[in-house]
Amino acid sequence: MSVDYTREISVIEGSPSFAAVNELIARPLDEKPDKKYYFALAITLSMLGIGAICLGATFWFGTGVWGLNNPVGWAFDIVNFVFWVGIGHAGTLISAILFLFRQRWRTGIARFAEGMTIFAVMTAGLFPLIHTGRPWLDGYLLPYPNQHHLWVNFTSPLLWDVFAVSTYFTVSFVFWYIGLMPDFASLRDRAKSRIKKIIYSIFSLGWRHSHRHWHHYEMIYLILAGFATPLVLSVHTIVSFDFAVSILPGWHTTIFPPYFVAGAVFSGFAMVQNVLIFIRKIFNMEHIITMDTLEKMNKIMLVTGSMVGYAYGMEFFIAWYGGNPIEFFVFLNRAFGDYAWSYWVMVSCNLLFPQLFWFKKIRTNIKAMFVIGVLVNVGMWFERFVIIVTTLSRDFLPSSWGFFTPTIFDLGILVGSFGLFFTLLLLFTKTLPVVSIAEVKAVLDHAQPKHHHGD
């Protein structure tokens, strides 16, 4: 098998016409949803319902219904928070960082990945709020001059999380919306029903595809990408600070910031890849979200997965090299203690299985990549579980050692978080264009200045 390196790989296969691109991407918004859609929605809404019931019980009875106990004061709530924030990171990486690096293959997937970012951050944001136990007092998380002279603890990374996540959400949302504006205009221009026309007109903010509009658009898009890049890194860095600034063995280690960021991108890509496999099939977008794009995503998973593996190795090595017996005990306990099974789930799913992506055959096999993507997400969820629970369950005093077992409420809320995320995602596919119409047109073969006819 030989590859011709003198030719560029087309971002969009088959060179469809501009009109065809419009039609294809806008079609799901015109058609009434079919049975399969309602069936999927029924499942995700049921999951959401389970979560809502469990959450209601938590509010009614208090966080005592969770499996938390004295040494293990953080468990599913924080695990889920870190997991969902991590999922969000891939979207920003694709839409902002790959944009700054001028990776044109991002075009077909950026919109969808960014949408996933927003939904994932929304889901993640719930957990710190409910974790406080009295969510009706969460307003005090925002520092403001008040009569009680109550101030937040500015030296705590938990507070920095509040600022980082809310800023990140805001910028991501604005970035997403700016990208949607030209598409709203395109939808407005082709809308037949009056109501739709009015709605799209409002959201397109008077966009007329004029040269001046595009000029401003390109500038603001670049600036927002520049903003979003340090923001996305700072979010998971601060999440890692939640653990690493403490002096607990297993939490306090300097590699945490880049390790968490790599892990976040890793799990986020797995989730985006999983969902896109369905989207490209259902919406006939196999020439827009191409196999080449999926392969590149798998390569990024291989890279970030190996970075995470490097961090596992480094942590273990330095735990021994540092010569602190307690630190080393914690790592041995992770690998061979009560929670050894979760440690090995983590290692195999995050480090071993993604290594299969070294082979092109597996990188380009839909079934194989889907399975590995699912495993990666399982592994990354367990990674946070291992970090949080194994460290906490072994207190400094052996008499205070404990064991965490999740209750039905813990599990219910986890299920509910998936329900929320996928419900929002399903609604998104039917209300907004899942691929950027304007950007895809710009990367078509025949839109390129160097395009020669007859190639």
Binding site: T6, F241, T254, I255, P257, S306
Partner: protein, 396 residues
């Protein structure tokens, strides 16, 4: 695909004679100074050899990493510059020479190599299975051998392509590069731990390998940028290199300036915040006496100044500002390595005199000499690379 369709217009020219003369003069001056420094203060000269060893390792293996990165990422814009990185990475063959003084005088550099120190120190006893003379020497030799092999094959295939125009060589190199990446990551970490972290054998930091990696890639990029600008101005590269190519180099440097700062901050912040004496002593040494000025200086020379220079978009396309930034980065990397290692040898007094300059002069002289010798035989542009034509058409 016939070779006709790959061929580009390139005529090989000689480097200006002043260039090689400058290299030769610096090489001689450096050599004399180095010999003098060994005669007058053997231990201090050995300690300086560690700094220059890690510096040249950064540039050479970092350059090979850039070569491999281009293959594995399928990058197009950087193809015209790849040969320059390949030539720089030839220094991999010479770095063992700079490791030799320390290997012959382990006691003068590494506290852990003293038997009596280990006997009275529980922590060093724990680390002894890793930090001992035999294993140290074995793993370092193994790393050099592996790096040599990758250099041989990667650059050999690339050079073969100049005459054969065989696309299969690109495929082979992509596979080699893929194999190189994990090996590079692990071996560079070992070098960082062995040669820099273990100078203070009680100290440890999990991010340290990443920290050295950041400096490595940054300095290799700066070195490449400097050479590209110089050679292109002299008309020794190909026609068709535009501001867009420069911009890419500048943007990549800018990204790695930020990456280094991020890693450096992460390491400092977490150790400062947790305030555990087993870790903080390393920073405290660097935050006392004269060293504190150097620590503040590091923030400026390694981050603030190059960041400010390269932040504006036009700066990334302006040869003059790119050159200034590249020179500052190279100085900063040396400064960084000095800051990492010297306080371990001299805790209270900042040592800086002609001893510290002897090796850098030798290194610059050697670099220029190697480059001019190598470029006599080798094309400065990989003319047989199938991506070359696309690279010259590259637009932002």
């Amino acid at each position: 695909m016939s070779s006709e369709e790959i061929k580009i217009h390139y005529t090989k020219k000689e480097l200006p004679s002043g260039f090689s003369r400058l290299g030769f003069i610096l090489l001689i001056i450096g050599l004399i100074l180095v010999v003098l420094s060994f005669i007058t203060d053997y231990n201090r000269a050995t300690q300086n050899s560690v700094i220059i060893f890690t510096f040249l390792t950064s540039i050479s293996i970092g350059s090979l990493f850039l070569v491999a990165l281009e293959y594995i990422a399928g990058a197009v814009w950087s193809v015209p510059f790849r040969r320059i990185s390949e030539i720089i990475s030839f220094i991999i063959f010479l770095i063992p020479i700079f490791a030799l003084p320390a290997l012959l005088n382990l006691h003068g550099v590494f506290h852990w190599s003293h038997q009596e120190a280990v006997a009275n120190d529980k922590l060093l006893q724990v680390k002894a299975p890793y930090l001992n003379e035999t294993f140290f020497i074995i793993r370092n030799i193994a790393i050099f051998l592996i790096w040599w092999l990758f250099y041989k094959f990667l650059t050999g295939n690339s050079r073969k392509q100049d005459s054969t125009y065989d696309q299969k060589l690109t495929t082979t190199n992509i596979k080699l590069s893929a194999a190189f990446m994990p090996i590079f990551g692990i071996s560079l970490t070992i070098i960082a731990i062995d040669w820099l972290m273990s100078l203070e054998p009680h100290w440890f930091s999990t991010i340290f390998g990443v920290y050295y990696f950041a400096g490595t890639i940054l300095s290799a990029l700066a070195c490449l940028t400097l050479m590209v600008l110089y050679l292109n101005e002299k008309g020794l590269l190909v026609k068709g290199l535009t501001k867009d190519h420069y911009y890419s180099l500048g943007a990549l440097m800018f990204a790695f300036i930020n990456f280094w700062a991020y890693i450096a901050f992460s390491q400092f912040m977490l150790i400062w915040y947790a305030n555990l004496p087993e870790e903080t002593f390393w920073f405290i040494t660097r935050w006392q006496g004269g060293w504190s000025y150097l620590s503040y200086g590091l923030i400026f020379i390694h981050f603030v100044i190059p960041y400010a220079i390269l932040l504006p978009q036009p700066a990334k396309m302006d040869p003059l500002r790119l050159k200034i930034a590249a020179v500052i980065i190279l100085l900063a990397h040396f400064y960084d390595l000095y800051w990492l290692s010297m306080p371990s040898f001299s805790k209270d007094v900042v040592l800086f005199s002609w001893y510290e300059i002897a090796f850098p002069i030798l290194a610059v002289g050697l670099f220029i000499t190697i480059f001019s010798i190598k470029s006599k035989k080798i094309n400065l542009v990989p003319i047989g690379d199938p991506k070359m034509k696309r690279a010259l058409e590259f637009k932002l």
